[in-house]
Symmetry: C2
Subunit: 69 residues, 2 copies
């Protein structure tokens, strides 16, 4: 089960940088960058903070894709 996300899209909608998002949700820029690039699966707390910042819910940003084979 992989995790995908549309963080980049949401940032584009709001026209904010990774650094600005990081600051807003109190995470480091590297963490935002890594999440955005799918380097790792964030905690639900990080996800909740990000979703809240964008005024949406977690499911609108993060998607569990069942691994195809």
């Amino acid at each position: 089960m992989e995790l995908e996300n549309e963080l980049k899209v949401w940032r584009a909608r709001r026209d904010i940088t990774q650094a600005q998002l990081a600051e807003a949700v109190k995470l480091s820029r590297q963490t935002i960058h890594s999440i955005e690039r799918g380097k790792f699966v964030p905690s639900v707390l990080s996800a909740l903070k990000i979703a809240a910042f964008f005024g949406t819910n977690v499911e609108a940003i993060f998607f569990a894709r069942r691994d195809e084979r």
Copy 2:
């Protein structure tokens, strides 16, 4: 920022045990138990699986409570 959850309530609604939930979402019973008791903050993937199982969204189960003081 603390994390609270209503896992126990949702389990009660569906009348299923920790073990049944664990099996359904492919997590160990200990993990379900620990999440339920707030022992740690789960990954967003775990949260998504649990929310999907209950047919709801993450925000309906997990709450970020800003530490009051």
